[in-house]
Symmetry: C2
Subunit: 459 residues, 2 copies
């Protein structure tokens, strides 16, 4: 692939730093999609410098390609005039997504100043949840009535097509109640003689959705029928919006990412660019759940234990009862680190020259999580293991051993995918059950060894 963002990042850093005069000329040759990607990890100051140098067409294209988070930062750089221009030039679905980022009174002022019909369409779109068909659809679509000819459809599109950005293709054929009865692709409009009745070339409408339908239904419908656009209809069946294949495809990516996030307990995207503390905060909830579950398990196991006399010293049994915490945490940490790295390799987020930096920061994340989880376990174990003589020493030993084992697992989880890449294996094969099993076994061994050493040197 000939697109590579590392040079862009370096070029922009140098130009912003040393020769702002050359920057404007350089930006003319940069694709807005690349600029949008760069802006994700760039500082506010750099983004402002670059944005100020773009002309209004470049700005609109940047908004078209920018992610939600980037758009939210960019709208803050525009005055009301600039906002009106952007809102009028984007697709209606994208315009509505931008309005969300504005203060209510500013959004209201912008809406008052855009074309009346467009404002009405945008207000209607604003009422739908973002994860419904209504939230995905745009009101920018073209229709002709049945009985027309191909030439009429072309004429209609030429009148409508004032905006340059928009993913909608083809034209819907509607009956007198605005109910869609067919659709003609742009390609058919190009290749069919203009006097042909549209009914002769139109494809049927295999499926429609309602604005309140879930976005996943939209994605399924578009994918199953291979649609370029999906019609959204109201209760009477009249066409009120269309969802493009591109927007519907985004749903699948989003839902799949959601599934993975749920299974791994964290988003896997752009993790390696986040500050260490943010990474710890994002991954901690899963570990807290595991620690709590492990503490409950440790106590269930105590209930099942042969009775010991109060005041007995900590025994092998007692250390063993905390193994479930280690197994759970080691598995989590190993699978998080390896899944994040495998995906980061696949998307090109981690280039070979960033490997060492990413490795050390991931191990630091693991170490901090180990400290927090080990510390929590130490405190709780000290408080509840009152039957054990020397509960403080026992709790501390367990906690420290957990911290050591978790740090080890994060080293394992981040280094093995890197080693696989070096050896030209597909790193993906390790980022699953294999990693969990390896973390479990080695984590448990390290935990037992550490706990024994600490307890025996303390005793």
């Amino acid at each position: 692939m000939s697109a590579n963002e590392a040079p862009l990042e370096q070029d922009l850093a140098v130009l912003i730093e040393t020769q702002p005069d050359g920057l404007a000329a350089y930006l003319e040759g940069v694709h807005p999609a690349d600029l949008a990607k760069w802006a994700r990890n760039a500082s506010d100051g750099d983004v402002t410098i670059v944005f100020e140098l773009l002309d209004s067409e470049q700005r609109i294209e940047l908004f078209h390609f920018a992610e939600d988070k980037v758009s939210a930062r960019l709208v803050a750089l525009l005055d009301v005039d600039g906002l009106v221009e952007v809102i009028e030039s984007l697709g209606a679905d994208e315009a509505v997504d931008l309005l969300v980022h504005l203060e209510d009174d500013i959004a209201e002022e912008v809406l008052r100043r855009v074309d009346l019909e467009r404002a009405r369409g945008l207000r209607a779109l604003q009422t739908y949840d973002s994860d419904t068909a209504g939230g995905l659809m745009t009101t920018d679509f073209a229709t002709v009535e049945s009985g027309c000819r191909v030439g009429d459809a072309i004429k209609e599109l030429r009148q409508e097509d004032e905006r340059t950005i928009g993913d909608e293709t083809g034209i819907f054929i509607v009956d007198e109640h605005e109910v869609p009865i067919g659709w003609v692709s742009d390609r058919d409009l190009v290749t069919t003689p203009i006097h042909t009745p549209v009914e002769d070339v139109m494809a049927g409408i295999p499926v429609t959705v309602r604005p309140t339908d879930d976005q996943e239904d939209v994605a399924i419908a578009v994918s199953r029928y291979g649609l370029q656009v999906l019609p959204v209809v109201d209760v009477q069946g009249a066409l009120v919006g269309v969802v493009s294949a591109e927007d519907a495809g985004g749903v699948y990516e989003e839902e799949a990412e959601e599934d993975i996030r749920r299974l791994v307990g964290t988003s896997t995207e752009e993790q390696t660019h986040l500050p260490v503390m943010v990474r710890v905060r994002q991954r901690l909830p899963l570990q807290v759940l595991t620690v709590l579950g492990g503490i409950v398990t440790a106590n269930i196991l105590r209930l099942a234990m042969p009775e010991s006399k109060a005041g007995d010293p900590a025994a092998f049994n007692d250390i063993l009862r905390y193994v479930p915490i280690v197994i759970g945490l080691a598995g989590n940490v190993g699978i998080q680190a390896s899944t994040i790295l495998v995906r980061a390799f696949a998307t090109g987020e981690v280039t070979p020259d960033r490997e060492l930096r990413v490795l050390s920061s991931e191990v630091l994340v693991g170490f901090l999580m180990g400290l927090l989880c080990g510390g929590t376990t130490a405190v709780v174990a000290t408080l509840i293991e009152t039957d054990i003589d020397g509960a403080v020493a026992f709790g501390s030993a367990v906690g420290i051993a957990i911290a050591i084992a978790i740090t080890w697992s994060s080293l394992l989880g981040s280094s093995i995918p890197m080693i696989c890449r070096r050896l030209k294996f597909d790193p993906a094969i390790v980022a699953g059950p294999f990693m969990i099993t390896l973390s479990d076994i080695s984590g448990t061994a390290i935990y037992m060894l550490s706990a024994h050493l600490i307890l025996s040197s303390a005793g």
Copy 2:
């Protein structure tokens, strides 16, 4: 969504059974995408009956929408004449995917009989791996040389456009060496006056790929730049193929599904339609890994144990050393069942009326896996725990307790998403760490209780 496959399935079952005469008329009203979906789970006999009744255009559309597995079954129903017609009518990328399913000599005969130029294109496509840009691209694309006008591009498309099926849109502008320098969308061809030079309306080429590039690079490029088609070029930069956005989008779905499959240890798609034994076979490798890892861990823990005399009866310690197996298996089984059901709910695979059947078959799957994993553990434990007096009783107790705990986890993993759906919660929130923690705790408790009961009643 107005598409629902349950009625189609029922209608076809009734018509095939009772009135084959009405079937042909009924099939005319069925969308080929729905028919392709139906064929995934239909018997060979039913598929044959339906396929025989389709005319050649319907058959070609069915191939266009059919998944690989269905296509493989369908090509077997065609003679060489039929094959030639299908291969000539499909997009080149789809035609090549079909040729794979044919015996070598039949494929050769088909290729000899299709148009010479097309055969050459197909042979070239056959050389690429299916997970590369070359494997995704089609050689069906249109170009005009720079310096042409919009009208020339339209004329070119009218000549090329003999096939009806194909997702490629727009036309590439190439220089004298066939190097792409721009692209004009079908929409721009429709809306631009025909005398306009193509250079005035063409978009630039932000990125190209080589045929050997990984399919993930293709998906990333198409998604990042919002492309309708991605040009594939050879070493000299000349255009050799194009990948449509639709085909590139499939890569994301595939890779995401792959990630989830790896994390869950099994494919999650259409699981509830598979025979129980197939489901067991698919999910077993993950469990085997867990059992092996758990047995290793049990032995590491034994090494760390305070020395006991040979001939000691099985102690609490010994049962405890097998908890890692239970925790691993319970987590696996719970997460597999819940992830599969959550996805099956989301895609409409499991309708409320199928719930009970799906629940009982999932629990049966869990029970069988529990038997196999418990049995394996029982045998291994009996063989290696030679220090324990009554190793057979000990091994059996551990094995039976594991089987009980795993069956419980599969009941938990399948029933909780169903309960969530009944209570109108999003079932997705439970199919993750929460399910693992719950399975871990309750599985461990059930394991300890069962093992103690069995051991004490045996002793």
